[in-house]
Symmetry: C2
Subunit: 319 residues, 2 copies
């Protein structure tokens, strides 16, 4: 079975770990969000790709969900001693190595997809990890901050400001001119199932869908497309997805996110049991819906969620 | 008193620390060797400048004489896990910060002299540290290695091979086309004394002198030029200076190094007491010479050596 998963960071990575257990023989391709990539200290940092790679490769800091295990922060402390900005982004000494290797390879002319493959040669995540695009796409957020309206990098909004200022718009700068990375459209065309993990529907999966050709390839694939709600009981399972949903005019609920994707894209949708009353609303929108436990409290829970998604995909296929 | 010092790495840095104690009110400008600079992992590394900066700024690893105190090597370990070469150069996590800041500033268009000044804003070495040139000069060594004659970067010869293969020539690639960094010729023109610490006469001071204009500015300054022998009892005090001296056809002795500089450049020369019998030979070459203790066993010893150098300079001036 060939499964393609569109993934953001922590939620996507933990879901993928569950999926690998639920479908150990599946051939899994991950299309990773690169809209939250950022250049820091002259280095190219790809937080979502790295979170997937570290999580599946056994190098993640399990507690925080991002960054490396057994990490130190001496380099970052020294940069602060030099007065270098920004100081709000947490790069550890081990993590820096990934960004240095990536930056050096990009500087030598390799596209991000080739660099990601080379990094995965070490981590062996057990999936094929593709960036959504080799082109630079950068998610900016229009905010009101210190009395002014301005557009800032997503990471500045998310990490520095903790989404604490009003967001008026989310713009994947460069997406319109970008092309899917090599392998992305092919993987979608050959997929048996396409899954949207409980990643952020705006700044993770939404950004991937903003790359011209990807949304169309999913719709044209003719295979079940099943997603899992990142909203449980009207609040995001983790992170601050409600803030960016508001910015794009979508209410923070499991049903509203399904409607936001729409039946043109989505065939099946899993909501948490606490949102069982929204199943009817989602099905009314033409999307098959089931209520199951959606909290990835551990690997077993994530595997059960992945299993439910595959079961729903099978229901869609045979419907 | 305005003192200009041509300096390499460890020996130069330790001498400078002694000089600051011996002449606390002096205005000291250091012209640092950049011929051993190297690009590693896409980063610009300037070992000699950093050794001077860390030593005088209180951040040096005292035992090894280079690199940072309280250092860890997690980033380097991770680069090795990625299989990235070279693995023979010891960059620590704290040290990496310096190279990242430098590389970012160079990438933004600042010349190395401005970058060095910015780094020294933090370290406050108590001297004005100038790179010999803002242009790229790279010392290569022609060696016989694995049956072949080839030219390798000085660091590869020095750090990787520990000078263990025969060296046939030392070439400061790019020196002929280089210009002294801003402030270098001015500092020499305004100096009251010019000192050559016990740094490597070939790959440290020799490289600085290879930048067109510097040798002439020293000769034209019309002030005492005094050096200290890096060779004590026919062996280098530290390092492997004898290997590169052989490559340029100079015998490994205190007197031979003085003759190599020559009376056109050097007015005074300090040899160690064990080399007292070479004083006559040096003076016969037209260079005033004294035998004094030349082992920088501690800061006091370095200060006494610096004091002896200044005393000899005064003798030259009033002769």
């Amino acid at each position: 079975m060939r499964i393609v998963v569109l993934a953001g960071g922590i939620g996507g990575a933990r879901f993928l770990r569950g999926l690998k257990r639920a479908a150990p023989d599946a051939d899994i391709t991950v299309i990773g969000n690169t809209g939250d990539d950022i250049h820091l200290f002259g280095l190219k940092v790809c937080p979502d790709l790295d979170t997937v790679m570290y999580t599946l490769g056994g190098g993640i800091n399990e507690e925080q969900g991002w960054g490396r295990s057994d990490e130190t922060f001496h380099l970052k402390q020294e940069l602060a001693e030099y007065g270098v900005e920004p100081q709000w982004f947490g790069l550890g000494d081990r993590d820096f190595a990934t960004h240095i290797v990536r930056t050096q390879m990009l500087g030598a002319g390799y596209p991000l997809s080739a660099v990601t493959e080379a990094l995965c040669d070490r981590w062996k995540p057990g999936v094929r990890l593709l960036p959504m695009s080799d082109d630079r796409v950068e998610t900016h957020v229009a905010v009101e901050w210190e009395g002014e309206r301005r557009a800032i990098h997503f990471q500045e909004y998310w990490v520095r400001l903790r989404a604490s200022v009003p967001a008026h718009a989310v713009v994947p700068v460069g997406a319109e001119q970008s092309k899917p990375a090599p392998g992305v459209l092919e993987a979608l065309a050959e997929a048996d199932v396409i899954l949207f993990p409980p990643s952020n529907p705006v700044v993770s999966i939404g950004t991937i869908l903003a790359v011209p050709g990807i949304r169309e390839a999913i719709a044209d694939a003719g295979v079940p497309v099943v997603g899992l709600s990142p909203i449980v009981g009207d609040a995001p399972v983790r992170g601050m997805a409600d803030k960016v949903l508001a910015a794009v005019g979508v209410e923070s609920s499991a049903a509203a996110v399904a409607e936001h994707y729409g039946s043109g894209l989505l065939d099946g949708w899993l909501v948490d049991e606490v949102d069982a009353d929204s199943v009817a609303r989602v099905e009314a929108a033409g999307i098959r819906c089931r209520a199951v436990p959606l909290l990835m409290t551990d690997l077993d829970a994530a595997a059960r969620m992945a299993g439910e998604a595959l079961t729903l995909a099978e229901e869609v296929r045979t419907a």
